[in-house]
């Protein structure tokens, strides 16, 4: 197997670099970056890249990093930034603005718990804070997927039927600092896959106010249009997958990835690396004769409700594992998908590995065991992984 031994942070940086260079025949590439653990190595690598027509601006805050992307994107450049945790929280108002302005910014988040109290480790709570910001959100499960998803993110974001920013999530340390063999495409391959960005409403010389006041009626219409663009994401993403496969020889993963789910009695639904750890648990359970299946939610926004509902059809017991906790409610993913199962099905929520707890296959097995014993769903189960 070919490929380079790199971390997901570096995979993201290389993908951004390739995408940025691919826009050299158009308005170029411009990225605003600011360090924060565990996304730092991504921006560091990016800052070491050469661009024929590109700039990486080392700004003074995540807030400004996204602001640079907004300005650059408005001017028609391909843009990129990366952050984590509190960086995303500080950035939040500009994250929202980039989406509302319909600017195709791509950002990679190395997921990390918010603080203080400080915590450096994996938790989906930071990007889920941006759930309603109008961005497309992908959650990745390995380094190759991070690289491929970043490349796909540009083609998806820049499609005129979409024109939305895309957030590619990868869990801090678990992915960001984990080195695996990753295929890095050549610039020629990326150039073929990723056409130059042509932003229809980019700022030219025509007087026009980007971001002027939206009065209530106009705001309603713009929200509806934004929502419609979200709804077109799956259709466009399929085309992106096809193109990617055509040009790069492999097919990026679907928005929802079922694993031995068709004949499963018990389903474990999760995002990110827990979902692939769950696949190991499924294999072990199957070896024991238990009909366990897994579902990985890769596209969180737009919500893959239809895909999930189809998978859930006929299932009586579904466990949803969240690496996040909406305090006072439960797991965010659980809240989103529990209504998609058939009436009478048990959809039980489990919260494991928040703040970087190490989620192992035995945790998934314990979930399956707990689920198998249930006749009705109860309050979300908060499982501790221990130090």
């Amino acid at each position: 197997m070919a490929g380079r031994l790199i971390s997901a942070n570096h995979a993201a940086a290389l993908a951004a670099t390739l995408a940025g260079r691919a826009n050299r025949t158009a308005r170029g590439f411009c990225s605003g970056v600011y360090p924060i653990t565990p996304s730092t190595e991504c921006m560091e690598l990016l800052c070491n890249q050469e661009f024929e027509k590109g700039e990486v601006v080392r700004v003074e805050s995540e807030h400004s990093a996204m602001a640079v992307c907004i300005g650059a994107a408005a001017s028609g450049a391909r843009t990129f930034t990366t952050s984590s945790s509190n960086g995303l929280a500080l950035m939040a108002e500009n994250v929202v603005s980039a989406a509302l302005l319909r600017l195709p910014v791509v950002m990679v988040a190395a997921n990390r718990a918010l603080g203080p109290p400080w915590n450096l480790w994996a938790d989906h709570g930071d990007t889920l804070l941006l759930r309603d910001s109008g961005w497309v959100q992908f959650y990745c499960a390995d380094n190759q997927e991070v690289l491929d998803t970043v490349l796909c993110a540009y083609r998806l974001a820049e499609d005129h039927r979409v024109l939305l920013p895309v957030l590619v999530c990868q869990e801090g340390f678990v992915l960001s600092h984990t080195t695996t063999r990753t295929e890095v495409p050549s610039q020629e391959e990326v150039d073929r896959f990723l056409p130059p960005l042509e932003l229809p409403a980019r700022l030219r010389d025509t007087p026009r106010a980007l971001g002027g006041v939206d009065v209530p009626g106009v705001a309603e219409a713009h929200r509806a249009q934004h929502h419609e663009a979200m709804a077109r994401v799956f259709e466009v993403y399929r085309e992106v997958q096809d193109a990617f496969e055509r040009e790069l020889g492999r097919r990026p993963a679907d928005p929802v990835v079922p694993y031995r789910a068709e004949d499963a009695d018990l389903l474990v639904v999760s995002m990110g690396t827990i979902a692939v750890t769950a696949q190991r648990a499924v294999d072990e359970a199957r070896a024991r004769g238990e009909r366990l299946g897994a579902v990985r939610v890769r596209t969180f926004r737009p919500s893959p409700a239809e895909q999930l509902a189809a998978i859930f059809r006929g299932k009586r017991r579904i466990a949803v594992i969240d690496r996040d906790l909406s305090l006072g409610f439960g797991g965010v993913l659980w809240g989103e998908v529990r209504g998609l199962a058939e009436p009478g099905a048990v959809v039980q929520g489990y919260v494991i590995g928040v703040g970087g707890g190490d989620v192992r296959p035995e945790h998934v097995a314990a979930v399956a065991a707990d689920l198998a014993a249930r006749t009705a769903a109860g309050r979300p189960v908060l499982m501790e992984t221990g130090a």
């Binding site: 907004i70 001017s75 108002e93 603005s97």
Partner: protein
Amino acid sequence: MSEPSTVAGPSAETRPTPLLRPGNSNCGGCGMSSALQLFGRAVEHRRLQLVVPASCAAVTAGPFPTTSFGVPTVLTTFGAAAAVATGLSRVARLNGDGTRVVCWAGDGGTYDIGMASLSAAAERDEDVLYVCYDNEIYGNTGGQRSSATPAGASTTNTPAGKPEEKKDLLAIMAAHRVRYAASFSIAHPQDAIRKVRRALDATGFRFLHALSPCPTGWKSEPALGIELVRLAVRSGLYPVVEIVEGRKLVVNVEPDFSREALELYLSLQQRFQRSGITAERLAPAIARRWRELRAASGRILPAEREA
């Protein structure tokens, strides 16, 4: 002082559309409007993109899809103008299209919430002209204090008058050693237009400061905006200076330090009534400020003009 009749006004003939269009939503007699008119006259044929953070000027742009600005404009979050401008200007430079990127920000977006991004853009020497139209108040939110609000001015959240003195922004910008930093006066159009052109044509980070009367927040007659600035300049309250590379300071308009002008300035604005701040109380701070300015200008300190 000024003889505006000698300033060419290339409004209708040489520009297809003015920088600030008639039918905008600004209050009558808005100082920001006056500053924009001046600025627009200086722009002439230069390609411009405007970056406006949350402020009255953001509302000026008008409801979607209209615009009151005669150039492409991006409205940004409150503290992000200098950073958004960074993105625009970097891409403009990458593409060599000669666009001059101009931030048009209020004092809140500059002195307060935008200070970090402003300082950083200045430190990075971004090719951006940052203009602060300073009405010394959060006008857009209905008139709260900012760190540009002068001592003694009543605002909705300092009803008895702000106790603290105004932040010296120009000194802060000069300390960044920016390429060009200057204050201009809407009552001194020749000087102002010269400065705007100089700032537009320089590269690297440039900063302009314009005192912009807010009749609504200052509780003054809308007609008297330009006159108030004139009084502020005359009295030494608003120094009209320019600083090149953070080193060489030049006083462009010599005040006469008229106590009468200062008293008039205070009495024409109801915002100073409640605190009862007097010219006498302001005078030492003005004198101190001017001693610093004289020192920075490299000139021998003149004798105190006023006893």
